[in-house]
Amino acid sequence: MGNVFSPFYLFTFILFFVAVLLFFGLAYPHHLHYQEQFQLFLFDSTYVWEIVKRPGGIADLLGRFCTQFFLFAWVGAFIIAVLLSAVQLLSFRMFKVQRSKFNVQWLYGLSFVPSFLLWLFLLDENALLGGVWAVLLTQLAIWGLVRLPDGWARRILVIVAFVILYWIAFGGSHYYRYPNVFPTLLYAAWFSAIIIPLVMWFIVRGRKSENAQQQNNSLTIPGQSSPPRSLSHLIPLTSFILVSVVMGTLVWKNANFKAEKVMQYDFMARHQQWNRILETINDEKPNNQIGVTVQNLALAMHGMLLDRMFDYNQNGIAGLLPDVKEDATSPLPTAEAFYHLGMINVAQRSVFEAQEAILDFQKSGRCYKRLAQTNLINGNYEVARKYLAALQKTLFYKEWANETLPLLGNEKAIAQHPEYGRLRQMAYKEDFYFSDHVTPEMLENLYFSNTNNRLAYQYLLAYYLLTGDREGYNNLISKMQ
């Protein structure tokens, strides 16, 4: 095998790095946003200890730490590219450790297999980066061990390393958000990261002894000599291309671009990118519930819901304000609509339920932020303070939390705040019960609480138009007159 820093190896390494970076940065960015929004990494000793005290906790912690950067998709893509490239590099280095003078270059492409398997693993929005760290930490440990001179010290270190590895990387099971799904791809990557170098080692070892024997017999062994210089990169290049094409095709075929699109709508709603939403729906009309919900919200934010809603796909009331389901994903875009409408308690409930439904019981920076806002608007300052105090311990929500804290209890500042002041004015004045299903009465009550609430007006009329309730519509019109 050649030097890892030789131009050829460097070229393939960079090629792989760039491919991963571009994939997650361009084709899969909203999967990264999705990942980030379902965790809340706290710079807090109790939080850290609760994670690292569990078997596999170090890998889990490193994964969570990196995932917080997924708020910025390109940074997330860069982190993933670095990690997957590191796995490849270590696989390759472990081949090198054999210090073989024998030609096993046809195996070069296999050094990419663990990284490609991890890439496949990460296509699932519920696969966690801690799994990648677990593979990487295992590789690092093995790489370090095989470099040690043989002897008792190494044997003892191997035993100790296995115990430590169990604790820091592979003792746990927090590699998926799913509670009871075995991460087959992750374990395949882990095994390939270990097994391939081991296979290499056995091949090299076998050839060494064979060579020694043959040297004793003074025989020339065909195939033992290095290939001609002109062909020195052809064999590894072929194996690299073969593995890259096969595995790359697998990655592309298994990527869930449909989910990516849905996540994009949720992302745009979360960040109130109303213009971008309109551009997106004009390019391709959404045909899924979340897309339609966000599309309608964006139209309403531009005051165009009633005029243009039927230019796009609709899904009855389920595309306007769908029922709150017991999952972490679908309530969030609807909660955005509730929030902007001024249905603060309904929004709060939807967000709270979504957070409670996160499969691996983590908390969410996005949800904490919104819960702080709804409690602030409702005047529940001590509850808002709790969420803000937690957000102050984060890297990327800290600034917002610091800016929001002075608002607590400051009625004048809240009243003058462009968002909170407006939403307070739009909120319900009359109390009644609600549950999972939004009724026209809820929208009607909201609108008549403050007839300046143009969003409520549009949603109310859209409700009747979408349900075909002519009588309700006429009643409303006569009430308005």
């Binding site: 509670p179 009871n180 308690n345 309904v346 409670e356 509850v383 109390d431 019960y433 609600f434």
Partner: protein, 501 residues
């Protein structure tokens, strides 16, 4: 050898530094300006009465107002010690318990200094009164997010009140293998002991886990003739019988009212479960009324429970969500013959509806002289009702229509202001009242204790935590706090095995 010696010395020096930093006995600030107000400490332990075996009452000054805090504690025999690190005062357990033992039946004087913008402020001193009666050593509760319908991780935990040790009794992850999740609730004990106890598991692998003389089993309490499995339990004090309510419970949410959630029953009855025969008999199942929250008298001769008052005729057929704010519960009891399992006639104990109130969660003091309950405007799930308070009435005479309604005791020192107070209970010696309260922020319930003696109640105090900030940072509610005189000794794994059968 030299290297070993120097390493040893360094290690020792490090250990001494570590120990000295743990002790945290700061000097009393010298240059201070006096303030005539009590220190704004959290939790508020100013002039509270505590049991002599309670864990250290650690507290803190508001971190956004003060930079440092120093407290000096002085026992009645003149011993003094100072504490403080940052804005927190955290007292080592051994030193605290030595002070409590020296002050039993007396008081500890607490002086507090707070530093703000480089200047020290000296607050008015206060006292912590040490009662001669201990509190039950253990407490169990469910730790749960104050959620709406969906829930994630929850656990039933037990806390040693003399220390800060908290261990898990059960959690909803260990046996849950379905994405629908699992709810665990309603832990309950016979006579404050843990050899006979139960809790429910709902949804995935559901059932009631019953520990009978230390043996664990899981039973299904739903029968063809009951509207649900057993819900709110009460162990008979001497027999292996458990009274349950059966409930068809629903939830709705308020659009504007601060009472975030409304929990209501569409139907509820009372049943009696006989552990020995695994049989369920109906105590009360009036389909037009709602019976709930059974509780036995300490002698086991009466079963107390809440029952709704009939709605006016014109409201009966309406959606319960429209009429729920009119539903009120009174408190009743029925005599019970433990030999025949026969219940007597119903007697009205407390007519809450006559004062336009609604009663729930009755608990009778161990000496049988007092009755605690939660009282709110309507309904029975008062932990979400901001007007709900704990009420205590004497049980001096047998209730009868001719007997005037007993006057409630003054519990203003126990109840929070404009915040839900609910789930009251008595310690086994009857000297400590415990309740769950959302008084700190209106959303996350916490456990409060108050000293009770001869009908008088002292100022309530928040269950102490090793880090006083935990009450602020913990985003879980303490649900259904129950006293125990001993810990649950069955491990989570042992409990989980009952689900394999």
């Amino acid at each position: 050898m030299k290297r070993y010696i120097s390493s040893y010395i360094i290690l020792q020096a490090f250990a001494v530094m570590l120990l000295s930093s743990c002790a945290n006995h700061p000097s009393v600030p010298s240059d201070t300006s006096a303030s005539s107000v009590l220190p704004p400490i959290f939790p508020d332990y100013c002039d509270v009465t505590v049991p002599y075996n309670i864990a250290p009452l650690n507290f803190m000054l508001p971190a956004d107002e003060y930079d440092e805090c120093v407290a000096r504690l002085t026992t009645s025999d003149g011993q003094q010690q100072t504490y403080g690190h940052g804005v927190k005062v955290q007292i080592p357990e051994s030193e605290w318990h030595a002070m409590l033992n020296a002050s039993k039946g007396k008081s500890i004087k607490v002086e507090v200094w707070g530093q703000k913008e480089g200047k020290w402020l000296s607050f008015s001193p206060f006292e912590i009164h040490i009662a001669e009666e201990p509190i039950d050593e253990y407490l169990s509760y469910r730790l749960i997010e104050p959620s709406y319908i969906v829930y994630d991780y929850m656990e039933i935990a037990q806390r040693n009140l003399t220390t800060f040790e908290e261990t898990q009794i059960f959690n909803n992850k260990v046996t849950c293998d379905d994405s629908k999740g699992q709810c665990i609730n309603c832990h309950s004990y016979q006579n404050y002991k843990t050899d006979n106890m139960l809790f429910h598991v709902r949804v995935t692998r559901g059932g009631t886990v019953i520990v009978n003389d230390g043996k664990i089993s899981k039973v299904d309490l739903k029968r063809d003739y009951t509207i649900s499995a057993g819900v709110y339990p009460s162990w008979h004090p001497s027999a292996k019988l458990i009274a349950f309510s059966t409930n068809q419970t629903h939830q709705s949410f308020h659009t504007a009212h601060p009472n975030k959630t409304e929990v209501y029953d569409l139907a509820s009855d009372l049943i009696l479960y006989d552990i020995a025969t695994d049989s369920v008999s109906v105590i009360s199942n009036d389909s037009t009324l709602l019976e709930v929250f059974p509780t036995w008298s300490p002698d086991g001769k009466y079963l107390y429970y809440c029952k709704s008052v009939p709605l006016p005729e014109e409201m009966r057929d309406k959606d319960i969500r429209a009429t729920y704010s009119k539903i009120q519960y009174n408190l009743y009891r029925r005599s019970f013959d433990v030999a025949t399992h026969v219940f007597g006639e119903e007697e009205l104990v407390y007519d809450a509806a006559s004062v336009d109130k609604s009663v729930s969660l009755p608990r009778i003091s161990p000496d049988g002289r007092y009755l605690l309950f939660a009282l709110g405007q309507y309904g029975c799930f008062h932990i979400w009702h901001h007007d709900a308070d704990i009420v205590c009435i004497p049980l001096v005479a047998p209730p009868s229509p001719d007997t005037p309604q007993p006057s409630p005791l003054d519990l203003t020192m126990l109840n929070g202001k404009d915040a839900p107070d609910s789930y009251p209970s008595w310690s086994s010696n009857g000297h400590w009242i415990m309740c769950a309260s959302r008084r700190d922020d209106g959303n996350y319930s916490r456990v409060y204790f108050a000293y009770f003696s001869n009908g008088k109640v002292k100022k309530a105090f928040l269950m102490p935590q090793e880090d006083p900030e935990m009450h602020i940072s913990l985003l879980k509610s303490y649900n259904r706090p129950e006293f125990m005189v001993e810990p649950v000794r069955i491990s989570v794994n042992e409990f989980s095995k009952v689900f394999d059968k």
